[in-house]
């Protein structure tokens, strides 16, 4: 531990968000600014998203510094999301981080995006040693700390649950709004659903598969026999029950005292309720990460950058290439105690 006072600026750009956060070495978040790329139609187009990031990068960095009330020279460490994610998007954040580190002559830290979700979640929720359910458009992971790493106990064998929800919603003709992502629209429709329709429920050990559920739900939409509200309801109930079941299995297996819910899908109230009920049955504490820090954000990169820096995990610029498929369980986290 160097123990010096300082600030870390973190850049997140793995997918559709370009975020910049600033964290102090003692864990205060001084800024968390985000600009999201919203596609005109369809899902995230990596090239278009990276073009968006390139355009907004300078402004978002300046705004973060401004909010934190810091001059660039006062930043002690530059961190960036090094992976996993979409190559073109990751490279924008990496390029900005390298430029800042070189220009300011500050150390550079490459942060694993999934580790960052867990670390910021623990920091803001007070969880110490949780089973984490990380659910987003690109990830569906059940992980817990075991011997120097966050071990993956379960994950999706095909598509991420957020992706499954989005594709289903688009097939249903729903359109995202700036204030309301597709998941929130499905959630609202589902809350008005009344009859449950059986759909494929696929849990393999602690792993999950969502592709069969997606196909069956799309077929229901096309059949046109059921109200959209009922299909959304059944779709959500099935997908979230699967998630809760594998989280429960991991909790029973690891005997951890807490469950931490994070990622973009964490905002869903029904998913939160299911996990809360499950945790109560096991006497475990349920923690959900507030939306600002659950979706992709720069603050999580900044805070994890602080942890890495304090343990000497800096990287030279010439070895700071992005890692598109960098797994959570490849990363040692020396700051976590067993």
């Amino acid at each position: 531990m160097r123990g010096l006072e300082g600030y870390c600026l973190g850049i997140e750009s793995t997918a559709d968000d370009f975020g910049v956060g600033i964290a102090s070495f003692d864990g205060e978040i001084l800024a968390n600014v985000n600009d999201v790329y919203v596609p005109e139609r369809g899902g995230i187009h990596p090239r278009e998203a990276s073009r968006h990031h390139t355009i907004v990068a300078g402004r978002v960095i300046a705004e973060a510094l401004n909010r934190a009330g810091l001059k660039p020279r006062e930043i002690s460490v530059i961190a960036f999301s090094q992976g996993p994610g979409l190559g073109p998007c990751l490279r924008v954040g990496a390029t900005a981080a390298r430029a800042l580190a070189a220009y300011l002559n500050k150390p550079l830290v490459g942060v694993n995006h999934c580790v960052a979700h867990i670390e910021i979640g623990k920091m803001v929720s007070g969880a110490r040693d949780p089973v984490t359910l990380y659910v987003s458009g690109g990830n569906t992971i059940v992980a817990a700390f075991e011997a120097r790493r966050y071990r993956v106990f379960g994950e999706t064998l095909d598509i991420a649950v957020g992706n499954c929800l989005d594709v289903f919603a688009r097939e249903a003709g729903l359109r995202p709004r700036a204030d309301k992502p597709l998941g929130a629209i499905v959630e609202e429709l589902a809350s008005r659903g009344k009859s449950f329709i059986q759909l494929p429920y696929t849990v393999k050990g602690m792993d999950l598969s969502f592709s069969g559920l997606l196909t069956a739900a799309i077929n229901l939409l096309r059949e046109g026999k059921y109200p959209l509200e009922d299909i959304c309801f059944s779709f959500q109930e099935t997908a979230f029950s699967m998630l809760t079941e594998v989280t429960e299995r991991a909790l029973a297996h690891t005997e951890k005292p807490e469950v931490l819910l994070t990622g973009g899908v964490a905002a869903n109230k029904r998913l939160q309720d299911m996990l809360r009920v499950m945790c109560e049955e096991h006497g475990a504490r349920f923690c959900v990460v507030p939306k600002e820090y659950a979706t992709d954000n720069g603050a999580m990169i900044a805070w994890t950058g602080v942890l890495c820096y304090k343990h000497g995990l800096t990287i030279p610029i010439e070895r700071s290439h992005v890692k598109l498929k960098w797994r959570l369980d490849e990363v040692e986290v020396p700051w976590v105690e067993q």
Partner: protein, 212 residues
């Protein structure tokens, strides 16, 4: 109900005296988090299915508990209490030679299951019991399915590898290689090779794996 010996994620296991025998009551709890229709459907499906698969495993020559009674109304299976220790509890502390021998036997048993078209679905070391006589008994067929697909076999073994990596990380490679050796004895070189390739493919498919 007798003594609760394990509260699992899926069901609770009670140890009980029943008709003069030491038995296990495996009761699937209603899950409050799930809507009733879904919960009931899953409970009945799994309670019916498990004893059938346990029986099929016996036909394949894989030791499994004796089933005495199936009560669908209560979602309860009454079966033999298998004396012994979970492989999970002992594997890390064994001398390397014994560990390899044990894993090879596990591999042979998984091979026998797969050869008979049975996919266990939850091949963790807590679901295998080593009896005092040295026999390995497979329990918990709650997530098992019938399949001879390479995909299903690959996922089954991939889960086993993952379970080893998370719980027995120090010896994961040694153990898994021994499991594959045993598996090969039953399934032959060709199928085993195909299954190993399938496992690699599954791992690469898993969202963020670096091809290994």
């Amino acid at each position: 109900m007798g003594v609760l010996i394990k509260r699992g994620a899926e069901a609770s296991i009670y140890l009980e005296e029943w008709c003069g025998r030491k038995v296990i009551f495996k009761r699937r709890h209603p899950k409050k988090y799930r809507v009733a229709e879904l919960d009931r459907a899953l409970q009945i499906r799994r309670t019916k299915h498990e004893p059938q698969m346990i029986h099929k495993a016996k036909e394949a020559g894989v030791p499994t508990p004796i089933i005495f009674l199936v009560d669908l109304e209560e979602a309860t299976i009454i079966m033999e209490f298998v004396e012994g220790k979970q492989i999970k509890q002992i594997l890390n502390d064994l001398p390397s030679e014994d560990r390899v021998r044990l894993c090879r036997e596990i591999g042979r048993l998984v091979g026998k299951l797969h050869k008979s078209g049975i996919i266990h679905g939850d091949l963790t070391t807590s679901n295998m019991i080593l009896t005092p006589s040295g026999r390995i008994v497979f329990v918990d067929f709650g997530l098992s399915e019938q399949s001879v697909d390479l995909e299903a076999r690959g996922v089954d073994l991939h889960l086993m590898r993952r379970a080893l990596a998370s719980t027995h990380y120090k010896y994961a490679d040694e153990c898994f290689n021994a499991v594959i050796d045993g598996y090969r004895e039953i399934m032959g070189d060709e199928i085993t090779k195909d299954v190993i390739n399938k496992i690699r493919e599954i791992e690469r498919r898993g969202r963020y794996i670096v091809g290994r």
